[in-house]
Amino acid sequence: MELNDAPDLTAHIGGLSLKNPVMTASGTFGYAREFTPFIDVSRLGAILVKGISLAPRSGNQPPRIVETACGMLNAIGLENVGLTRFIDEKMPWLQNLGAPIIVNILGDSVEEYGEIARRLTDVPGVAALEVNISCPNVKKGGVAFGSDPAMAAQVTAMVKKNTPLPVMVKLSPNVTDICLIARAAEDAGADSLSLINTLLGMAVDARTRRPKLANIMGGLSGPAIKPIALRMVFQVSRLVSIPVIGIGGVTTAEDALEFMIAGASAVQIGTASLRDAGATIQVLDGIEAWMRQERVASIRSLIGSLQLD
């Protein structure tokens, strides 16, 4: 027997209430406009736009991407239009989309994270910030802040000090113990944690004996990393008391449900959107259909419901 009432998909993400737990992952959804020919982006729980730095960045030399077994490596190098153009040119359109906009921010220094946070605070339409301390593809900033608990705490505290917006901190899996970083970010005031960013990897062309990426190394994403992401979401969500957003290879509704059962309050969909521009909506529709079929009234009842003996 199916559910009579519409299932409740509302997700609560540290100071933010979302109409459903399906978000896009930063860097895989452009500035959202790219997807409007294919899907109704207003249906999404939240949209995370391409990471923004204070100054524009032109990104890394090509080749920037290479496909690997059940995944892909990227070394885009955070190419973006910079904060000023983002505020002036991208936000006026984004603010009317009907989905909350979460801005992924990246600084070269602790102070720069603070400045970006401050300048985004009063920009109409910005619902929250995601602090990127986990990009493996840039020399300065990024993962340098995300692999040391003290630095992660400093960046988090600086962003919190400069904005009343909800702050989500995006964690890197390229650390010995992700729980240490998670705890540090929580203690420094993070409202939620999103994990995982890509795993540092590489690919070699045996014929030319050269790396397949100009950057030599890049971030691995896609279904290949899902088991690692699930494990880390499970570990971190048991440790912290703030919401955890699961990222890593989510391609189907079942993947999303698995992350929520493991402890995620919501998910981000990344590489799947590159493979299929309609992936986010398919996951959303799939979750709702599953809830009706399984007679699950609230998606929140799923969070951390993993059965352990």
Binding site: K50, G59, R64, I65, C70, I76, E79, A224, L274
Partner: protein
């Protein structure tokens, strides 16, 4: 731009490693212009994970034709499709050739010949039959099987092969420089245009020739791609003006002087 499920009509083997795939894709086929491309899902599984970019080789009515070489796992799978198989398709994508009324020479090398057939047809339908078309490749087996398709669209078809087994021996740019004075005299035909697609080395030589002789040149370039719609920024190429352009949305066709060839 549309997401469409296309249906395989037939797969033709042109040589040991080149294929021509004809699919029914009513929406995309009617909309696509020469130089634009589609992203085709070759497998429902996660390996290979990503769709593959293919430029439109030909389009007529509901039918879209792609021309590809078997180079890896994705194209190996594509070479095994059967009539009736359904494949998800995204298109038309990117900026295609900008058609000029000026005298035109088309230069295609290897699998880069693909977009020139639709271009030759569009030029002819627009009343500007290509002054000449140069088709280049490694050997006869690569060039000969596709040669006849071009005959309706030009009066001068020139072939070059690396080994001289079909047409002239030598490179495409050598054939272009031999043809250009007669076909596109810059003095008598201002705005003459070369349209080229092929390996990077060939495009570089063609672009250099056109720059030196002041003939305008449009090139269609290739890149690995993940999304095809400007979201991932993976398909960057260095631009003359500094920074990068993105093949999927800024191209795949560019004015040759916009790209950095070094």
């Amino acid at each position: 731009m549309f997401q469409e499920t296309c249906r395989v009509i037939r797969l033709e083997s042109l040589s040991s490693d080149t294929r021509r795939l004809v699919v029914a894709a009513p929406t995309v086929a009617r909309d696509i212009r020469a130089g634009q491309f589609v992203m085709l899902a070759v497998a429902a599984s996660y390996d290979p994970l990503l769709r593959r970019p293919f430029s439109a080789h030909f389009a007529e009515g509901d039918e879209l034709t792609l021309y590809f070489r078997i180079v890896g796992k994705g194209t190996e799978l594509l070479a095994r499709v059967q009539p009736g198989d359904e494949l998800p398709l995204l298109g038309p994508l990117g900026k295609g050739f900008s058609l000029s009324p000026a005298p035109a020479i088309l230069v295609g090398g290897g699998i880069g010949i693909a977009p020139l057939l639709l271009l030759a047809k569009e030029l002819a339908k627009g009343g500007n039959r290509a002054a000449a078309i140069v088709l280049a490749g490694r050997s006869a087996q690569e060039v000969a099987p596709i040669a006849d398709s071009f005959k309706p669209w030009t009066d001068k078809l020139v072939f070059t092969t690396d080994d001289g087994s079909f047409g002239l021996a030598g490179r495409a740019d050598a054939a272009l420089s031999a043809l250009a004075p007669a076909c596109l005299s810059v003095d008598t035909a201002p705005g003459a245009m070369v349209y080229a697609c092929g390996p990077q080395a060939m495009l570089k030589a063609v672009a250099a020739f056109c720059r030196d002789t002041q003939i305008r040149c449009q090139v269609s370039v290739e890149s690995a791609m993940a999304c095809g719609i400007g979201a991932c920024l993976g398909c960057a190429k260095p631009a003359t003006s500094g920074g990068y352009v993105h093949v999927c949305v800024d191209g795949p066709v560019f004015d040759a002087e916009k790209l950095s060839w070094n």
